[in-house]
Symmetry: C2
Subunit: 352 residues, 2 copies
């Protein structure tokens, strides 16, 4: 807990002065005032977060955390549990969606086993921070112990801080875990108090019957475990997942180091929700890349107060939407730092 | 007219077989079925357009056509007319928004003087296809002669075909022309029959009084010139612009060469509208990048039947939104061609 407290204590308010200065600078560039809309908003936000007038986004890192979920016993996913481990190998060999999209935007992917249910073949590129062999079935009891939830958040902090030594200018969050939309819906229900039906989706592709079962299992898990919404660690331990808790740690650590963190979809959103309930100031460090097909994601973003950059009907996870968001952040900073001013380009300004 | 007819005759239907095959291939990649949403749609569309199962998007070209508008005499823009020429120099020296965003996505920008009101300093990078020194004031008579409208469309075709020799895998449309949202609103009103108030925006930043004047001028121009909506050349000549007609030519030429063409904002939309009314089949070759702040743009996209990829509150033009759309198209094709399949990565498929 001490480590989490220390990180949280280091999360400061964003500097409004640099945000104002950034807009003034944007207003001098050769374009009508405000005409680059949300790219300008992004540039302002990134300058505010980093405290830098000329931030560089050279080092882009996407953290893809993999873990298993005991609740898959209840038939809540369209894919078998083994897929979590199989996909980790796919990440390591570069064949997954996140590899392709991270390459596309010039980001590196840090793949983490934070709780895969099997022992994975050793690989120098795989970060192993295994808290346990998957969570327990939350429909029968808490998904993990309180101590495990704290350890998972701390593992996220460690992963971020280790990687930060090599340089991180912008971070993205990603996940892999068969069953993790079930945990994310449960977390969302507890924190936002919205009806479970409203925030539960088909995940990787459930049919109507499967969706009904998933909703029932989430309802059962919450009524059995009674997570306390005023205690985010309690929520994460009772109905969370190791990758979700780990991502919450990464988000908090990024904020404490003044690194913008681009959120992917629903699972990253559930992690962001937990981080936000641990420390609301973290919101200002978050960039919501997209709005997922999973209905709970929109509810999370509204609850935190984030407006997604785009909606491309994505529901893959892994950090894929976040990667595209990092690409837009890059574009926004290039606009700020590479465009000519009215003066330097000898272009007439707006009529008075 | 013969040249336009020839190009139009070469626009064929999209092959449904390759679209189906592309989806089958996407369904074998290591991701839940359909989970990359509109990126999958983009990949299918690009395969359908190009007729290639493994399209490459190496050669990305954005055509930014600049021209002046006589209607600026009526005070319809917040910026002085000289800005059109000044911005052409800015494009050539690489300081404009389009330069930054084209670089960001790896596209080259072809800058064209198709009707700037002054003679520009010769520059080997500037394509000069000047039809006239700006259009005439459409509030007092036709913006151009019918012959000039045809010449401007043919100039667009020529520009595309010349550049096509150097290779174009995907094209983007862009514009520069103080006053051109006025022409675009007029074109939109004529083709879509929507009320002028509904499809007229503030352009580069008009105040309420300026917006009212702009609406009045558009109304006057339409009632004076009586453009015939069943004759797109008539519409372009009476209330259009050289860059708008030129872009219509580029769009038709791209379709005739089976090159996907990514539309930027409102001005590109007006050009697309004219191209669509010349030959409706051209729609299938268009990709709508974004939805502009200019209210008429949404109406155009609905009229043609295109759904924009994103909405970032952009209203700069030049091809900037199109550039970001090209970046997404690139991502979509990389997903299709670089991801592992379930089989190659040894990942279990969905439960039956």
């Amino acid at each position: 807990m001490d480590r989490i407290r220390k990180v949280v204590a280091n999360i400061s308010e964003i500097d409004p002065v640099i945000i104002k200065k950034t807009q003034e600078r944007l207003d001098n560039l050769t374009k009508p005032l405000g005409s680059l809309g949300r790219l300008e908003e992004l540039a302002r936000k990134i300058c505010g977060i980093t405290g830098k007038e000329n931030p560089s986004l050279r080092n882009k890192v996407i953290f893809t955390l993999a873990s298993d979920h005991g609740v898959t016993e209840e038939g809540v996913s369209a894919y078998p549990k083994e897929v979590t481990a199989q996909m980790v190998y796919n990440f390591l060999s570069g064949g997954a969606g996140i590899n392709v999209l991270a390459n596309h935007v010039g980001a590196r992917v840090v793949v983490v086993d934070i709780g895969v249910a099997s022992d994975l073949k050793p690989d120098p590129r795989l970060v192993v921070k295994k808290i346990n062999y998957g969570t327990k079935n939350m429909a029968k009891g808490p998904a993990m112990t309180r101590d495990e939830a704290i350890k998972a958040i701390c593992a996220g902090i460690e992963i971020f801080e280790d990687e930060f030594k090599a340089g991180i200018d912008i971070a993205g969050t990603g996940d892999m875990g068969i069953g993790n939309t079930t945990a994310s819906s449960a977390i969302t229900a507890v924190f936002t108090k919205k009806p479970i039906e409203e925030i539960t989706g088909r995940g990787t592709g459930l049919d109507d019957k499967g969706l009904k079962n998933k909703i029932d299992i989430i309802r059962k898990s919450i009524s059995l475990n009674k997570p306390d919404s005023s205690d985010p660690i309690d929520v994460l331990s009772k109905v969370g997942g190791f990758e979700i808790a780990g991502l919450a740690g990464i988000i908090l650590a990024a904020a404490s180091k003044r690194v913008p963190v681009v959120l992917d979809g629903f699972i990253s959103g559930a992690a962001a929700l937990a981080a936000f309930h641990i420390e609301p100031k973290v919101k200002d460090y978050m960039i919501a890349a997209h709005c997922s097909v999973e209905s709970g994601h929109k509810v999370i973003l509204e609850h935190i107060g984030l407006k997604p950059l785009f909606d491309l009907d994505l529901r893959l996870g892994e950090g894929t939407g976040g990667a595209l968001g990092i690409g837009l952040a890059d574009a926004a900073i290039k606009i700020l730092t590479e465009m000519a001013t009215f003066k330097s380009a000898n272009v007439s300004e707006k009529k008075k």
